[in-house]
C-alpha cells in the first residue's frame, strides 16, 4: 500500500455528480444498510442526549421521570460542577498536560519509528520488540515501581512528571503505527533526497515527515484521546497533585454516594464530553480529508 499524493483530477472523482442506474437490489441493500446504521447511531446518540438533557434537571425531576424535559433550562448544575466540584481547574490541567505530552510524543515517536523502519542496524529488532512489549504489558504492572521512580526524581504529584509518563506510555503505540507508515513510503524519494545532498536530518524533516502527514494526523488523534481519557496513571502517580479531568470526575462521582446531586453529576459528565466532541467534529473533517488523500486510489 503506497501513499499517493492526491492529484486534482483524482479528488474530483468524489464530487462528480454521476448517478449510475440503480438496480432494485441496490435499493434493498441501501435501505437495509441505512436501517442498521441508523439503529446503531441511535444507540450511540440517545445516551448522550439523555445525559445532556438530565444535566439541566434537579435531582427530584430526575427521579420523577427519565424522559420529562427539565422544568427550567437553568445552568445551576453546571456552575456547581464547574466551580464547586473543581471540574473547571481539572479541565485546564488536562488541556495543558495532554497538549504538551502530545507534541513531545509525536516528535519523538515519529523519529524513533523512522529510524526503526528505514535503517537496519544491530539491535533494531530488539528495540522493536521492546516497544511491542511495552504495548502488550498491562500498565498496572508498572504503577507501583513508577510511583517510586518519580518520587526519587522529585516529580511525583507534579504535572511535568505526569507529562513524562504520558510520553513514555504513548510512545510504543505511536512508534508501532508510524513504523508501518514510514516503511510504506517509497525509497526512491529518500535516494533522490540523498543524491540532492540532503543529510539524514534534512531528509527526515523536509521530505519524510511531510509525506507521513496522514499517518501522523490519525496517530495524533488517537494519542490525544488516549491521553485525555487516561485514568489509571493520574490516579496512581498524581493522586495528591493538581487533578486532571478524569480524576476529578471520578472523585466527584465517588462523593455522590453520600450527597446525592445527580443533576450536577450529569452536568460534570456533559462538561467532560461536549468540548472533546466539538473538537472531534471540527477535526474530523480534516482527518477525513487527510485519510482519503492518503488512501485515494
Amino acid at each position: 500500500m503506497t501513499t499517493k499524493v492526491s492529484t486534482p483530477e483524482r479528488k474530483s472523482l468524489h464530487f462528480q455528480p454521476r448517478t449510475p442506474a440503480t438496480t432494485p437490489g441496490d435499493k434493498v441493500v441501501g435501505a437495509v444498510s441505512h436501517t442498521a446504521l441508523t439503529i446503531w447511531t441511535l444507540i450511540v446518540i440517545l445516551p448522550l442526549v439523555w445525559t445532556f438533557m438530565s444535566s439541566f434537571k434537579t435531582s427530584s425531576e430526575i427521579f420523577a421521570s427519565p424522559f420529562a424535559l427539565p422544568g427550567e433550562w437553568k445552568l445551576d448544575n453546571y456552575v456547581k460542577a464547574w466551580s464547586e466540584a473543581g471540574i473547571g481547574s481539572a479541565f485546564l490541567n488536562s488541556v495543558l498536560v495532554v497538549a504538551v505530552a502530545l507534541v513531545i510524543v509525536m516528535v519523538l515517536g515519529a523519529m524513533c519509528a523512522y529510524v526503526l523502519a528505514r535503517y537496519t542496524f544491530p539491535g533494531s529488532r530488539a528495540i522493536y520488540y521492546l516497544m511491542l512489549a511495552g504495548l502488550t504489558f498491562p500498565i498496572f504492572l508498572a504503577m507501583v515501581p513508577l510511583f517510586f521512580v518519580l518520587k526519587n526524581m522529585g516529580l511525583l504529584n507534579t504535572l511535568p512528571g505526569l507529562i513524562l509518563v504520558y510520553v513514555g506510555f504513548a510512545l510504543p503505540f505511536t512508534v508501532f503505527f508510524l513504523f508501518s507508515f514510514f516503511k510504506s513510503l517509497p525509497h526512491e524519494i529518500t535516494e533522490a533526497a540523498a543524491l540532492d545532498g540532503a543529510g539524514e536530518w534534512r531528509t527526515f524533516f523536509q521530505v519524510m515527515l511531510p509525506m507521513a502527514k496522514p499517518g501522523l494526523a490519525s496517530v495524533a488523534i488517537f494519542n490525544f484521546l488516549g491521553l485525555w481519557n487516561q485514568f489509571l496513571i493520574p490516579v496512581s502517580i498524581n493522586a495528591a497533585g493538581p487533578r486532571v479531568l478524569s480524576q476529578e470526575l471520578a472523585a466527584f462521582a465517588g462523593q455522590m454516594g453520600y450527597a446525592v446531586d445527580y443533576g450536577a453529576l450529569f452536568a460534570a459528565v456533559s462538561v467532560t464530553v461536549i468540548p472533546v466532541l466539538i473538537v472531534y467534529i471540527i477535526f474530523q473533517r480534516q482527518l477525513q480529508g487527510s485519510v482519503s488523500q492518503g488512501t485515494s486510489k
Partner: protein
Amino acid sequence: MTSVKTQQSRNDDGLAAVVPAKAPPQVIRRRRKPLTWDKVSFFAVFLGLPLAIYLLFVIWPFIQAFGYSLTDWSGFSPNQNFIGLENYVKIFTDDIFMKAMGNNILLVIFLPIITIILSLVLASLVTVGGSSKGQIKGLRNSSFYRVVSFFPYTIPAVAIGIMWGQIYDPSGGLLNGILTGLGMDQFKDFAWLGDKNTAMIATMFVIVWGFVGFYMVLFVAGIKGIPAELFEAARIDGAGRFRTAVSITIPLIRDNIQTAYIYMGILALDAFVYMAALNSGGGPDNSTLVMAQQLFFTAFSKGQFGLASAMGVVLAIATLIFSGLVFVVNRLTGGDKDVSL
C-alpha cells in the same frame, strides 16, 4: 504484524544499508559514507532520546515489578524480604482472585469477537453499501454514521461508566424507562447492574458501545486502502457484495483485524475503569470483579505491594499468552507471512 517478518523479506526492502551479511552487491555502494557527524547525531537524537524516556518510565518499572513480586514489601516501609514464589501461591489459592481471573477470561473470549464483528459489519455497510454500478463507492451520507459512531471513543472511560451507571439505574434510568414504555413491565425497577445474571452482560455492552466506532473507523481506513481495481475485478468476475466482503475485504484487512483483536483482548484483560465506574465493589457475587480491580485494592487499600506486583505479573503473563495465541492462530490459519500493521 511486522514483527513476524522474515529476514528474507527484510532484505528485499532495500533497506539493508547497514547489513553486510547477505546484502546484495549494490548495497556496498550506499555505505560510502561510514560515520559522519550528521549520521551520529541523527541516531543519537532520533533513537537515543525516545528510548531513554521509554526505558526509564516504562521498561524499568516493569522490570522492577517482577522483582517486587518476589518480596513481601508493603510499599512504604524500608524492609522487604525475599519470599520467593509465596505471593504466587497465595494468588492461585485465593478464590476471589480466581473468580476475577474467570471473569477476565469471559471478557477476553466475548469482547473482541462481538466488537470486531459488529464494527466490521458497520464498516462494510459504510464502504461498499453503495451502488453496484459504476465507480465503487460507499453508502450515501455514510460519513455521518462514521462520525457519530466514533463519538463514544472520545469520551473518557470514567464518564462512560458514570453515564451508563445512570442509564442502568433501576428507577430513574433511561433503559428501564424505555423498556417499561414499550410495555415490558417486568423490567420496572430491574437492577441491571445489581443482578448477578445481567451485571456482566450489561457491563460488556458498555465496553462494546465505547469501542465499536473506533474499530469501525480503523476498518473503514483499511478497506479504503484496498485498491479499487480489486473490487472492480471481483465485480466483473461476478462476485456479489457478500462474496466480495468475505473473499476480498476481510483477507486484505486481516492485519487490521488482528491488531483490533489484540487491542481488544488487552483491554478485556484490564477493563479496570469500566468495572470500577459501573460496580466499584466487584458487582453482585463478584460477578464483574476483574483482576485489575483486585490488584488495585490489594496495592492501594491493603498496601500489600509485593502481592499486588505478583498479581500484575500474572496479568502481564496472561496478556502475553493471549497476544501469542492470536499471532499463532493467525499464522496457522494462513495469515500473511509478511504482515505489516
